[in-house]
């Protein structure tokens, strides 16, 4: 049944499983679940200061506010006061100290959502203010950090290599954070059950983590808590750990009042309370020869992690693991500082540090190409890892010692250069720019090599539960969550293909910790790789049982039983899948099975930075053209061409949708999306009025996206590849194109910082043009 020529629904461009529900408004999100009788609503009272101690709290006005049923503080929490996904350093409600503006201090329980919000503004709290640590410089000076010191990965002797190199460049690069801006804000609903058990619906990428934290908070084993997630209105990493506070609050309040409790953040609260993409400052030094061959690179990563550890260590690790991107660097050193500041606790965000690491080396390549006057694509190609069929380098390993065996970018780059007409357009742009004084165009290419697997190796496992009912209908469940990426449909396509049935036979069901336990977050692009394989295993178990029973009855070899086109073919006999299921049921064959998968081959040491953290790599390449205005720095994208590697795609249309959306999101990160904190640590961009994600007209005028005709050499589900995060990095091409356009105003290297807002571009043009 691994025959790729007859895959059933696999590889078909089917729409999202809930598309019809989406367009009719019938798709249910947490806040749409019909409200249980007597449901109460929650809101946090939050800290207005970045650092200090609570001296006294007067919550009498909060309690007296209309509709308020209860007001809880840390003293009212019955068990663990912690919502951290990592090291228990994140109290649900302040334990007496506050560590960032927006930290929850008390919890209002009221009869209405707006009543709870209104009451939450009425707390009178006296704080003893302390001097906060807000910037990375302040944190470095105070040695305020996570872990005992910087993590350092080294290969060879880069300092010596750079010092001895014919040429070198150095610089510093600021990279801003990013708000997830999932359209559905964080939300949870808890229904108290008999015997203090709790049923929680949560908009989360990680139901098991919600279950774990709720169980801790109400002092019960995990078996007493069941968490269900049908869908999220977007996640992007922002719902990997940030939903804990709401779900735990609902459970605590439900336990306290005996009533159902619901909590959703207003958008401003959501942006002020929750974590975002990590800001980075990357300082670099690179040595190379006159042909542009890299000889040695040194990176110094500083990252602002915020007040709690959350997932910052693996995020910063992944930035280090992507500091090479597509390039074989003979000698390299990466030093990473994870800085603790009195700001929101930065968290997972699509790419999980990878994009920050990758844009660092792409900046270096941009700088080197400028220094040598060499075409930036040619420079990159010269430094690519070797293709598996054309090994030239003696050493084709990454800085962490992993052999690169699946490198696709040589062929992909050549194909994209041709389809995008890169060379001719670059010449035409140069000519056009000569005739312009105020406007300049720029064009840039950027490649992506993104490592696939959780770097915390034990997370690379997944479970599934599949039932075939006696009428031949199939109930499908697995540990992955649906946040819009189309995971449920892709996995259902796998299930339908294994049973040889149509998609209408498969019932997709909500993620449920009572059906599949001990799941990992749907993160790290792993959803279809892990859950697709687990579902395949479950389906094949049932199918093999069916085949064995039917072949015995029909006196043929079990291996000759085929499941295709809604039929089961047993030797010369043919019956519908429904008949087969019915016969198996009557023959007392179990038609239910779990399935389990763990990723093979991955093993590494994150302290040494050595080993194989990734099962394989996903690749991509983009070429973006922009125009900028020197008078104002205003800029926009004119054209984008993308070629992306999804292996043998499970669903090419859904994968292209991921690529298009990720590119625009990645571009937003590096252009208009600017997070601004004031000097008191208060976030000033906490709503879509002030924080600008790309709007409709910001997408490229011309936007060509294609999938590479490839096949994963590793044994993944139908040889497909993960597609969630890798294409996010394609947005780097926009940033480099802006740098290219800016460089047309003068001779100096632009050294553009991110995000490249109009103001940032304007300032950089002035520096390039006037040296100021």
């Amino acid at each position: 049944m691994n025959d790729l020529s007859n895959k059933g629904p696999v590889a078909k461009p089917l729409p999202h499983d809930a598309a019809l529900l989406h367009v009719t408004g019938k798709a249910r999100y947490i806040d749409d679940i019909p409200m249980p009788v007597d449901c109460l609503h929650l809101a946090f009272g939050t800290s207005p200061i970045a650092k200090g101690r609570i001296q006294s709290m007067d919550l009498s006005e909060v309690k007296a506010s209309k509709g308020v049923v209860a007001v809880l503080t840390a003293d009212d929490l019955p068990f663990t006061n912690d919502v951290s996904p990592s090291i228990h350093d994140e109290p649900l409600l302040s334990d007496g100290t506050v560590n960032h503006v927006g930290q929850p201090v008390f919890l209002v329980v009221a009869t209405g959502h707006n009543l709870a919000r209104a009451a939450a503004k009425k707390g009178k709290i006296d704080y003893v203010e302390e001097t906060p640590i807000l910037t990375m410089d302040e944190a470095m000076a105070a040695n305020s950090r996570f872990e005992d010191g910087p993590r350092i990965y080294t290969k060879g002797d880069p300092a010596a290599a750079i010092d001895a190199a014919p040429r070198s460049v150095k610089g510093t690069f600021e990279i801003g954070g990013q708000e997830h801006f999932y359209l559905e804000g964080q939300a949870a609903l808890a229904l108290p059950q008999e015997g203090c058990d709790m049923l929680v619906s949560s908009s989360t990428q990680h139901p098991t983590e919600i279950q774990h934290k709720v169980a801790e908070a109400i002092g019960l084993p995990m078996h007493a808590v069941r968490v269900e997630t049908r869908r999220m209105g977007g996640g992007f990493g922002g719902k990997e750990s940030q939903g804990n506070a709401l779900a735990v609050s609902c459970a605590i309040a439900a336990r306290h009042t005996g009533k159902p409790c619901k909590m959703r953040y207003d958008r401003d609260d959501d942006m002020i309370i929750t974590g975002k993409r990590h800001e980075f400052r990357i300082t670099y030094r690179a040595g190379f020869d006159n042909d542009g061959q890299l000889l040695g690179v040194e990176f110094h990563h500083m990252t602002r992690c915020g007040w709690a550890q959350d997932l910052s260590l693996p995020v910063a690790d992944r930035a280090m693991l992507h500091a090479d991107n597509a390039y074989a660097i003979p000698a390299i050193r990466i030093e990473s500082h994870r800085l603790k500041t009195n700001t929101q606790s930065a968290t997972a965000y699509r790419g999980f540090g990878g994009p920050q690491g990758m844009v660092g080396i792409e900046r270096v390549m941009d700088h080197i190409a400028h220094d040598l006057g060499l075409d930036p694509v040619e420079l990159r190609k010269r430094n690519y890892y070797d293709a598996p069929n054309n090994r030239v380098r003696a050493d084709n390993t990454t800085p962490y010692g992993m052999e690169v065996t699946d490198f696709e970018l040589h062929g992909m780059t050549d194909q994209l250069l041709e389809t995008s007409d890169y060379a001719a357009r670059k010449a035409e742009i140069a000519e056009w720019n000569k005739g312009q004084s105020r406007l300049k165009r720029g064009i840039a290419f950027s490649p992506v090599k993104f490592g696939i697997s959780f770097t915390l190796t034990h997370l690379n496992q997944a479970g599934a539960l599949v039932h075939v009912y006696q009428d031949g209908s199939v109930h499908l469940n697995h540990g992955g969550t649906e946040m819009g990426q189309g995971l449920f449909q892709k996995v259902a396509q796998v299930a339908a293909s294994r049973f040889g049935v149509g998609m209408d036979v498969i019932k997709i069901t909500a993620t449920d910790t009572a059906k599949v336990p001990n799941t990992s977050a749907t993160a790290a692009s792993s959803g279809s790789d892990l859950n697709g394989m687990a579902v395949k295993a479950a389906c094949d178990t049932i199918r093999d049982r069916m085949a064995e029973f039917l072949s015995e009855r029909h006196q043929c070899d079990a291996k000759a039983v085929k499941f295709e086109d809604g039929q089961v073919i047993i030797g010369d006999d043919v019956m519908t899948f429904e008949e087969a299921a019915s016969q198996c049921y009557q023959g007392r064959i179990s038609l239910s099975s779990t399935g389990y998968y763990k990723t093979p081959k991955v093993k590494w040491d994150r302290i040494k930075g050595q080993g194989r953290p990734f099962f394989y790599f996903s690749y991509g390449a983009a070429i973006t053209e922009v125009v900028v205005d020197q008078l104002t720095g205003e800029n926009r994208i004119l054209r984008t061409d993308i070629l992306h590697d999804a292996g043998a795609s499970l669903n090419p249309d859904l994968d292209i949708g991921q690529v298009e959306g990720a590119y625009v999101q990645g571009t937003g990160w590096l252009t208009t999306e600017e997070l601004v904190w004031d000097d008191k640590g208060s976030l000033r961009t906490h709503a879509p009025s002030t924080y600008k994600i790309p709007a409709c007209s910001d997408r490229p005028d011309v936007f060509n996206v294609d999938l590479w005709d490839g096949r994963n050499p590793e044994d993944t589900i139908y040889r497909s590849k993960a597609v969630g995060e890798p294409p996010f990095n394609l947005g780097i091409s926009t940033f480099l194109a802006l740098s290219d356009a800016v460089s047309a105003f003068g001779d100096a290297y632009p050294a553009l910082d991110a995000p490249a807002t109009a103001e940032q571009v304007y300032t950089t043009i002035r520096r390039v043009r006037d040296g100021v």
């Binding site: 729409p15 999202h16 598309a19 529900l21 989406h22 367009v23 009719t24 408004g25 019938k26 798709a27 249910r28 806040d31 019909p34 707006n114 919000r117 801006f181 999932y182 359209l183 869908r231 209105g233 977007g234 996640g235 401003d268 105020r438 406007l439 165009r441 819009g484 189309g486 125009v627 205005d629 008078l631 104002t632 205003e634 800029n635 004119l638 054209r639 249309d653 859904l654 949708g657 298009e660 959306g661 990720a662 625009v664 208009t672 600017e674 000033r684 879509p688 009025s689 600008k692 994600i693 709007a695 409709c696 007209s697 910001d698 997408r699 005028d701 996206v705 103001e759 304007y762 300032t763």
Partner: protein, 481 residues
């Protein structure tokens, strides 16, 4: 928050210190997905979104931001002037009196046949997480009904974080040639008679003048694109509230040979239609001034009366030499618009006085209006510059230059103007005049821009103006490949 306001009121603080009054409710009648609804006791500041979701359990309409900036809550509202998209999160129930509302639940036919927009959104993979989708569907259904194909503009107020918009635009294009379904076509052909909502919902400016004179502490609500946020974000209790929607005479537009006069309740799209042929650059600015659903609600009068230093209309109108027409009771007065803005938060408006209209003289089009913001569409300006320079025989005859975002109020660049007037219209004059901006403005640094950037880009916009008047391509928006 949207850059637009739609009310005039500055006495809330005083009133809030008084004892809270009983919230005065209103009776209203409207159609909801074809069914007549009468609410005998509509609370004036309950939003349509909350009412739909909490009272009617119509949860297809989503709350994404609760401030009119993301479009997840978009609905189609039809009145005698036609159908328009509106943000239901900042739309108060009394604004619907006599109108028809259609939500995503009412877009397919009674028998379940999908609207072509819905079908094409499925076919072209226009939804991923699906949360923004109902809002997109409603904007697209409205645009399709109105025959609009400027999709980027129609959808500028709908944010999607998943798709990158490309598949949504493919869906919109695929719908263009398809007929409007009969059940949507007939929407609005039979509108309900508006209920008598009482004196706080006046039907004319005369009625308004009376009720406002009697209740000078009242909050005036026009489109609610600013006041809506006082409620949804500020959690303020507003009472009494006077809804201007029924004042038909305030929606009048008069264009004569000598003047253009816009009633205070003219919405920004209606204004754009008038301005576009006369002053195309200003028309384009109005397009970018806010998204379609915000422009459908926001009014000329509101944007002036709230006195925002970053409102986009006042600088352009000041550059055109506009006059503001104010009324209190039966007395009226006219002042130059620039004199209305006294200082930040303070306007030349007496208690009980309201903006009746704004007017400006017809003139040759030498006006150019430049909006600088982080994002081109649906963004509040960092700097908004309006330039109106006339040249006679190579010499600058007159100059009216006004800016928003550069001071506590919309403000003229007097020194710059003086450096231009009487001088030859040359690059040298322009360069000299550019150095004068620092005398006119001391802008501030905030999350939108730094003071330096504001000052630099403001003066550079004069260079852009000079180049544009010389026929050069000056904007990145004009470059196409």
């Amino acid at each position: 928050m949207p850059a637009i306001s739609s009310t005039s009121h500055r006495r809330m603080a005083i009133r809030q210190n008084n004892v809270t009054r009983r919230v005065s409710t209103m009776t209203i009648t409207f159609h909801l997905n074809g069914e007549e609804v009468t609410l005998p006791d509509a609370e004036p500041t309950v939003t349509l979104l909350d009412w739909l979701r909490e009272e009617r359990h119509l949860t297809g309409t989503k709350e994404g931001c609760n401030e009119g900036d993301c479009g997840a809550c978009t609905v189609m509202v039809t009145d005698p002037n036609g159908s328009k998209s509106l943000n239901s999160c900042i739309l108060f129930l009394p604004q619907l009196n006599g109108k028809s509302v259609r939500t995503v639940e009412g877009v397919a036919s009674d028998t379940g046949e999908l609207h072509p927009v819905q079908q094409e959104m499925i076919t072209h993979h226009g939804s991923q997480c699906g949360f923004c989708t109902p809002g997109f569907v409603m904007s697209m259904v409205t645009a399709h009904k109105n025959g609009a194909t400027d999709h980027d503009d129609q959808l500028a107020g709908n944010l999607c974080r998943c798709t990158g918009y490309a598949p949504i635009i493919r869906a919109a294009e695929a719908v263009e040639e398809q007929p409007v379904p009969v059940w949507i076509k007939k929407e609005g052909t039979e509108l309900p008679a508006p209920a008598n909502a009482g004196e706080f919902s006046p039907r004319s400016s005369d009625e308004l003048a009376k009720v406002y004179a009697d209740n000078p502490d009242a909050v005036l609500v026009a489109g609610a694109t600013d006041v809506g946020l006082w409620v949804t974000k500020g959690m303020r209790q507003l009472d009494p509230v006077i809804f201007l929607e029924g004042c038909a005479d305030l929606k009048q537009i008069e264009v004569t040979d000598t003047r253009v006069r816009l009633g205070a309740m003219v919405d920004m799209n209606a204004m754009r239609e008038v301005i576009e042929p006369l002053h195309p650059s200003y028309g384009e600015m109005i397009r970018r001034y806010a998204s379609m659903p915000v422009r459908n609600a926001a009014t000329v009068g509101g944007n002036i009366a709230n006195g925002s230093p970053i409102g986009d209309n006042p600088p352009a109108l000041i550059a055109l030499g506009a006059t503001l027409h104010l009324r209190k009771g039966d007395s009226r007065r006219d002042i130059a618009l620039e004199d209305f803005f006294i200082e930040y938060g303070k306007q030349d408006r007496a208690a009980g006085e309201f903006v009746e209209a704004v007017s400006f003289p017809r003139q040759a089009d030498t006006l150019r209006v430049y909006k600088i913001s982080k994002r081109f569409d649906q963004d509040i300006s960092a700097v908004l510059g309006a330039f109106n320079v006339t040249v006679d025989n190579g010499t600058v005859a007159s100059a009216r230059i006004a800016f928003g975002g550069m001071a506590g109020t919309p403000h003229r660049a007097t020194h710059v103007e003086n450096a231009l007037i009487g001088q030859p219209w040359t690059e040298e004059t322009v360069t000299k005049a550019m150095a004068e901006f620092g005398k006119d403005y001391t802008p501030m640094t905030d999350m939108r821009a730094s003071a330096d950037y504001r000052l630099d880009s403001a003066s550079n916009l004069l260079a852009r103006y000079f180049a544009e008047m010389n026929g050069e391509t000056t904007s990145v928006l004009e470059v196409a490949i």
